[in-house]
């Protein structure tokens, strides 16, 4: 955006009495190729473009956005937004700087915008063929590769001027197996920060095998009888439970609404002493990594829980001010259509000292939740609910039969102290997280974990 227009819009906000004014301009070029029925089902591409303007009066947020970047339109929106506010607090803006935050990774990127969708075809065909070859019971294979390249510019009335470029690419395969009228679907969906170079690094055969074999295996699985029992949670996407049940309540967005069981508990023991949890935006190439957050604050590694003691909340500008904690570079938003709030990046439980075999051996009758399917949580009450995509009964210290239909239910702050064993085998998985500022890419991760007791929904 033209610097004089930026200054005019920021000044208009200040003229309206705002303590802080911020401008967020975004252009995203995205494309998706979807392969189904052994052919390309659809090819689509889009340009998202718009500008968001945020005014802060103390910690009260006034936000406006538009796809029209004309200075007249944006000034009109700012005035409309701040209608009736006090005037007279005119302060000139500082000289803006323009650091270039493009990383080495950016310069090495194979740019999707230049290579086009044809680059994806061989990977999709290969995944389809490998999955179908796994079993005659495979009835459908759907694959897609989605990429997005985003350029954002952030300016604020404190003199900040940042340009950041972000690229993300994600592969998705969903395999349906069928027998009679029974159907079961299993999927894999790795995602990374980067362009098409990340597709080159994918083991498409292994992903297709894994999804296909799981779909076939689960098709024959009996239902698990429900009840309270010990559970070993799988590594990688098993971390979605921590993300939902503990991560969201550790965001200042929940804390400032007093909608978190962790309010006022910094420095207190909230989990088993074996547990350390981190939210890290700096891990190279991970799906939730960022150079700067959506307020222009450099990203960082934030230790949330250390040896069971609550160390920090994830915060944005408003949340940090209201809760009285440092900013952690965690302000995120789906797009210019959302004001930023504190959100997770790559959140994981650090590796411990136990082995998977030791965990299983310690259980007489329980569940191994090898692959989670996703879930939800109410941060205000801590109540969560997660489905198990692939589960196994544990009998007398050994993995036994595969089981289906299991659901884990509980309260996040009550489960944390019940995590008694933590494995050495950390793994991470990509996901999309939906909350107040839209749907954003995040990574969840953990080693295998043992929870001593949790309610498992099933079918008697």
């Amino acid at each position: 955006m033209n610097p004089s227009n930026v200054s005019l819009i920021l000044q208009t906000g200040r003229d309206c009495g705002a303590d802080f004014v911020e401008l967020f301009e975004e252009e995203t070029r995205s494309s998706v190729l979807t392969f189904k029925e052994k052919t390309v089902e659809s090819a689509n591409a889009g340009t998202d473009y718009g500008v968001g303007v945020r005014l802060l009066f103390g910690t009260e947020v006034l936000y406006a956005y538009s796809s029209d970047d004309s200075v007249e339109s944006l000034v009109r929106l700012v005035r409309q937004l701040a209608f009736g506010r006090s005037r007279g607090k005119i302060i000139s803006t500082s000289q803006v700087s323009a650091p270039n935050l493009a990383s080495d990774q950016w310069s090495r990127m194979r740019d999707p915008r230049k290579l086009g969708q044809g680059f994806k075809l061989d990977f999709l065909r290969q995944g389809d063929a490998v999955a179908r070859a796994c079993s005659e019971r495979i009835t459908q294979v759907t694959l897609s590769i989605v990429d997005a390249v985003t350029a954002v510019e952030i300016f604020n009335s404190e003199g900040l001027s940042v340009r950041d470029e972000r690229a993300r690419t994600r592969f998705h395969i969903s395999v349906t197996a069928g027998q009679g009228s029974e159907r079961f679907s299993a999927s894999e969906a790795p995602g990374f920060s980067g362009g098409y170079e990340v597709i080159d690094g994918l083991d498409v055969d292994a992903l297709a095998h894994r999804a296909a074999e799981r779909a076939v295996r689960m098709l024959d699985a009996p239902y698990l009888p429900g009840g309270q029992m010990p559970v070993v949670m799988g590594n990688g996407f098993g971390g979605v439970i921590f993300h939902e049940a503990c991560g969201h309540p550790l965001e200042t967005e929940a804390v400032r609404h007093k909608a978190s069981p962790f309010c006022g508990k910094i420095g207190e023991q909230i989990a088993h002493p074996a547990l350390t949890a981190i939210d890290d935006g700096l891990l190279p190439g991970l799906w939730g990594s960022l150079a700067v957050d959506d307020e222009g604050t450099p990203s960082q590694r934030t230790v949330l829980i250390e040896n069971g003691i609550l160390k920090a909340f994830m915060s944005d500008r408003v949340g940090a001010t209201e809760v009285g904690v440092p900013r952690t570079g965690s302000a995120r938003r789906e797009s210019y259509k959302y004001a930023p709030v504190s959100r997770m990046r790559n959140t994981y439980i650090a590796a411990g000292k136990d082995s998977f075999e030791e965990m299983v051996a310690s259980i007489d009758d329980g569940l191994y939740a090898a692959k989670m399917a996703g879930g939800s949580v109410n941060p205000a009450t801590g109540e969560f609910n997660f489905a198990v995509e692939e589960g196994y009964r544990i009998r007398r210290g050994k993995i036994a039969e595969v089981v289906r239909g299991a659901t884990l239910i509980g309260k996040g702050h009550e489960i944390l102290p019940k995590i008694s064993m933590i494995g050495q085998d950390s793994a991470a998985a990509a996901g999309m997280c939906g909350a107040a500022s839209g749907s954003i890419p995040v990574t969840v991760g953990q080693p295998h974990l043992k929870v001593d007791r949790i309610l498992v929904g099933g079918r008697a």
Partner: protein, 449 residues
């Protein structure tokens, strides 16, 4: 980023139509979307966030050698629109030909207006006053209300356009308001959240008193929940949440999923799939609901469609593409946003009401669960019919509430559930929704606790 100026929507659509016509494409259609909104949220006696927005988008579907290509943009400049058209044309090279002939203009009845001028007089100060009064009223009703973390009021305006190369030019606009509140009740260290929303075009439906009463009741009613012993038992799904259950499985009725081997209903047309009392319709003529339409998003005239009648599966929902593949005509259920490909949707999915009140359904069993709250849907799959979901509600004996229940999961299969319905309520809930389902009384649900 470009310094080129943006065009108005109608000019942008005319520009793309002209460029597309000159591109040599066989046929094409364009969708335009323009929206604006005004919203406000409050917390702890103060306005916390105010938001206004304006957004636009244009989507292109174009056919070369029978193959469709899609692209979209939110940037209505000549350069961006041309790039979008080039993207769409380039995508035709990847896709398979589909047997589609885009529709020509036909006479359709005009839809009653979905624009209430009264809503346009709604200002931020009035919205703020409503929210702050509502928050105060909620706290005043009970000392057990600990917190009101969610309270927002919004007004939205949308206009959509559909144009195609056969001459269709159709535009509609609508506005609506919505108020939502979530309050947390606290008793003996246990917290429960109650949620209540009102939305529509008549804002007199949302009153401070009415909303406060409802949300407080919902925040407190489950606070003394006690455990129960897991078993297989009858369940009455309240009309508060019955639509959430049915909505998870509606895609089973889409021809697209059937054709792709992802619906268990594939060979069930003409067969009984539910109890005779179960009727499911798609009704675009219900102009009081948000799914009303005279044309679908491909320009095909809509019609009321009996999907399940008397428990028998009568029809799947088709768009032009699925109809072409099945050698039938579209049922007028094509759905499309400007940035996506054409899919399928119900226009107001209605499970037709039965004869009994929800209260009477609870008397059908000596002992049952009355479910009023669901938690998460990840254990539910439209493909397998798997239904495993957290729930809260009440243990009911001989029609009377015994105590509140939480920490349970319900497990069954949706297609079994349709066969196990023993009663359908006679009343929908008060939501402004295109999915309306009365209370459902169902036997043989596995309850884990």
């Amino acid at each position: 980023m470009s310094s080129e100026s943006s065009m108005e929507m109608e000019a942008a659509l005319a520009f793309v139509r002209k460029e597309a016509a000159q591109s040599g494409a066989e046929q094409f259609d364009l969708v335009g979307h323009q929206s604006s909104s005004l919203s406000l949220s409050a917390f702890a006696g103060k306005v916390q966030q105010t938001e206004i927005s304006e957004s636009v988008g244009v989507g292109i579907r174009i056919f070369q050698n029978g193959s469709p290509g899609y692209a979209s943009t939110e940037r209505l400049t000549q350069n961006s629109l041309r790039q979008t058209l080039r993207d769409a044309l380039s995508h035709c090279a990847f896709t398979q030909a589909v047997p589609i002939v885009l529709p020509t203009p036909t006479e359709v009845p005009s839809l009653p207006t979905r624009w209430n001028p009264d809503l346009e007089s709604l200002g931020l100060s009035e919205i703020a006053k409503f929210c702050l009064d509502l928050e105060q009223a909620v706290f005043a009703r009970s000392s057990e209300i600990e917190n009101v973390p969610h309270l927002g009021y919004g007004l939205s305006r949308e206009q959509s356009w559909l144009l195609n190369s056969k001459g269709i030019y159709h535009s509609e606009r609508e506005n609506a308001f919505g108020v939502g509140i979530g309050a947390v009740g606290l008793r003996n260290g246990v917290r429960k959240m109650g949620v209540y929303q009102r939305a529509g075009r008549d804002r007199s439906m949302a009153t401070v008193e009415g909303m406060a009463n409802m949300v407080v009741e919902r925040s407190l009613e489950l606070l003394d929940a006690m455990p129960i012993v897991g078993s297989t038992m009858p369940v009455v799904f309240s009309n508060r949440i019955s639509a959430s259950i049915i909505g998870l499985y509606l895609s089973s009725f889409h021809a697209e999923l059937v054709q792709k081997g992802q619906s268990r209903l594939a060979d069930k047309i003409g067969k009984r799939i539910a109890v005779p009392e179960f009727h499911l319709v798609s009704d675009p003529t219900r102009t009081d609901l948000p799914g009303a339409a005279v044309l679908d998003d491909e320009g095909v005239p809509t019609q009321r469609l009996d999907v399940v009648a008397g428990g028998e599966l009568r029809s799947f929902l088709h768009n032009l593409e699925t109809a072409g593949r099945a050698h039938c005509t579209s049922t007028g259920h094509g759905a499309r946003g400007f940035s996506g490909k054409v899919g399928t949707t119900f226009h107001n999915a209605l499970v037709l009401p039965g004869l009994r009140s929800e209260e009477e359904l609870l008397h059908l069993f000596p002992r049952c669960l009355h479910i009023v709250k669901l938690e998460g849907s990840s254990g539910c799959s439209a493909i397998s019919g798997e239904l495993s979901i957290g729930a809260q509600g009440f243990l009911v004996e001989k029609g009377e509430r015994v105590h509140a229940v939480d920490g349970i999961t319900l497990s069954t299969n949706f297609f079994d559930l349709l066969e196990h319905i023993v009663g359908i309520g006679n009343e929908y809930n008060d939501s402004f929704s295109s999915l309306k389902v009365p209370a459902l009384a169902v036997t043989d649900v596995a309850v884990s606790a």
